[in-house]
């Protein structure tokens, strides 16, 4: 099935640290963006002639713009506390996938051109010239980081390799050496409004199709409104929710919850995407531009609230950055947080007795939860720290007869990335994705074996796509992965106790 070796799983998760295999993943690199992918984002079409000078110039700009970059490049003591925490290192053994070594790819150049000892002593202090080889190494290994932030949890100075990867990708974009997958997608958002390039009419068809399906199945006239001016709630959800499995079950779940809550809501064809790939390429400007589509949609449709669907990195940008990028939200109803997560919405409704959930609809299912990395370490839900762990579990437990957590070293803020985050969910990185999933799959297999777990819920479009594709490599059925609101969709009793 694969042209590469599938990692051998260990019985006990999170204990198996590989020996180092130098250059084991040196061949893994995604397609380089072509001029037509770069132009819509305002980046040079192809590698510019004076790329070295431009790259250093951009690095200097970023050092002035981002305290994180400056402090992180100066403060690492090479203690290696982060070294065995990255799923890509654990899955591949390539030492350049140790977070500290990944940072050093950029740090060595920083030291060479921006610090005194680097200028004077060179390699003695780990400094390197920015050569073509170094650039190729950047391209290779900064596209083997899913910006999951697990390394930052364990670093005594909180050094977040995601910040370094973002800066490196931004530098590469500025010299015309960006990644096709991300840039192509961002261009689609600018032009059409979502990552998939699904235009308004197609969206409208899909949504009315869903209305018919739900009516057939339940006898209830659950609406899937599009571009309805004056609706209370603007739903912003990852575009995968519009058609892919198991994502779409989640969308049906949201619609049923809204229906049951008796609120009016709408999707916007202009801002029909929760994801913001601007973060992956480390571009504040691109993130800003993508985010402001949501602001415009909210204003045009005169909504009162914004609710986000299930998506990990989208929720990070929404929760942590949206107010900065596209606020202030003073035109929305101040009684609700902006933005709100659909899981916050639904759990709140449950607590107020607004919905009845019937676990027997999911009889036979034993669930576990994959905490999505960007929800876990990049955002929050509810009003307490750690609500992002509590609310999804509470919701799942309300929908299914049995719930089991995976190994504690692999959940909550220690969760592993699915292996496909951060702009790596592309077929040209299949080997990396399969290997990067190893730590998660080990923990999943353990609960499947010991506790009879049948399904793993996820609250992120990337995780869902990644797992459905990658789990079969490890002999796990792709249908093991479910949307949290897919569970809600089955369990919810329509037409009972309206609030």
């Amino acid at each position: 099935m694969a042209k590469f070796e599938i990692p051998v799983l260990s019985e006990e998760p999170a204990e198996d640290v590989p020996g180092i295999a130098v250059n084991a993943m040196a061949h893994s690199r995604p397609f380089v963006a072509k001029p037509e992918h770069n132009a819509p984002l305002g980046f040079p079409g192809a590698l510019v002639d004076d790329w070295q000078e431009k790259a250093l110039g951009r690095m200097g700009d970023l050092l002035k713009r981002f305290r994180s970059l400056r402090v992180f490049l100066d403060s690492c003591v090479k203690c290696g506390s982060c070294a065995d925490k990255c799923h890509y290192f654990l899955g591949t053994g390539d030492p350049k996938n140790m977070p500290v070594a990944r940072q050093d790819l950029l740090r060595s150049v920083y030291r060479r051109y921006f610090t005194l000892p680097g200028k004077m002593f060179g390699s003695l202090v780990g400094a390197r010239d920015l050569t073509q080889d170094v650039l190729e190494e950047w391209y290779t290994y900064f596209h083997q980081c899913s910006q999951c932030r697990r390394c930052s949890v364990f670093c005594p100075y909180g050094i977040d390799t995601a910040e370094i990867s973002m800066a490196a990708r931004d530098i590469m974009d500025h010299i015309g050496y960006g990644q096709k997958y991300c840039n192509e997608i961002i261009a689609k958002v600018h032009k059409i409004g979502n990552n998939l390039g699904l235009p308004g009419p197609a969206l409208s068809n899909t949504l009315s199709g869903l209305e018919e399906d739900v009516l057939d199945q339940t006898g209830h006239d659950v609406k899937f409104p599009l571009d309805v001016e004056g609706a209370d709630i603007l739903l912003v959800t990852p575009s995968a929710d519009f058609f892919a499995e198991p994502h779409v079950d989640g969308l049906i779940g949201y619609a049923k919850v809204f229906h049951q809550a008796g609120v009016s809501w709408t999707v916007s064809s202009y801002a029909s995407e929760a994801a913001n790939f601007g973060m992956f390429i480390g571009s504040y400007e691109q993130m800003h531009k993508v985010s402001n589509r949501i602001r415009k949609a909210a204003q045009d449709l005169k909504v009162k609230r914004i609710v986000f669907g299930e998506c990990g990195h989208a929720w990070r940008v929404a929760y942590s950055f949206l107010n900065t990028l596209a606020g202030p939200w003073d035109f929305l109803d101040p009684n609700y947080p902006v933005p709100q997560h659909i899981i916050e919405f639904t759990t709140d409704l449950i607590r107020r007795g607004g919905v009845t959930l019937d676990k027997s609809a999911n009889a036979g299912m034993v669930l576990t939860l994959h905490d999505s990395c960007n929800v876990a370490r990049g955002a929050r839900m509810g009003d307490q720290p750690g609500g992002q762990f509590v609310l999804p579990r509470e919701l799942i437990k309300a929908c299914v007869p049995k719930y089991v957590d995976m190994h504690p070293e692999t959940t909550h803020d220690k969760t592993f990335c699915c292996g496909g985050g951060g702009g790596l969910l592309t077929d040209d990185l299949m080997e990396l994705r399969v290997k990067g999933a190893k730590p998660r799959v080990e923990a999943l297999k353990q609960v499947m074996r010991n506790d009879g777990v049948t399904h793993m819920a996820s609250l992120c479009a990337i995780c869902k796509s990644q797992f459905t594709k990658v789990l079969p490599y490890y002999d796990i059925d792709m249908e093991t992965v479910v949307s949290i609101h897919g569970l809600v969709s089955k369990a919810i009793r329509l037409g009972t106790n309206h609030v």
Partner: protein, 250 residues
Amino acid sequence: MSFVTVAYGVVFYVATVVLVVGVFNKVVQFARAPAPLKIPTMPAPLTRHGAAGRVAREVVLFESLFRSDKWLWLFAVMFHAGLLLVLLRHVRYFLSPEWGVIWDLVVLVQPFGLYAAFALVGGGIMLLGRRMVLARIRYITSPSDVLLLLLILLIGTSGALMTFVVHTDIIALKQFFVGLMTFSLNPLPTDAVLLVHLFCVAVLMIVFPFSKLLHAPGVFFSPTRNQCDNTRERRHIAAWAASLESDCGS
């Protein structure tokens, strides 16, 4: 005045200036660099006080390191606690009993400081050993990492040697440093161990602002640790980012 006294006087003036100016510059650079986005590693405290507490726990208890690697944590605590106590003990070479309460504290710390050298050297040796033995740590080690550890080990062992084996003329030494602080030069004892000890200290002071020793000020400025989680309640925007606002039409 002997050549050695003059030379060491000059070296320590230079080292002090480099250390103070260098670290001050870095701190200003860290502090001035804007943090355009809120990036605390979640879950994070909801208030600024909470975030200050989080940083304090990192500084005092090495909290994140503890979660990561218990052995490394132990070596690092030995090393740093040893260093701190040894430094506190050295305060007596610069102050006099007129300092009242502070002097009392310095006196209080003496017996601990005495043996802290063993923690410092022991911890340092373990840290160095780890760099040699563990393949993945060896991979990320550059020569400067080893040299810095050796330098500190040399300082620690030469210091301990003078405390326990070959005592130096501590009265004269104190007069030398008190003299430097009042810009007058008193003769420095010239036993080899002391000269090595002091020279290494001066080197350490000079490399401090240019090396990874910047983790000491850096930890206070790390946005993933010192930011609180309140983005939905308060809008956070950096000056350079605010200039983008005009071109989004709202």
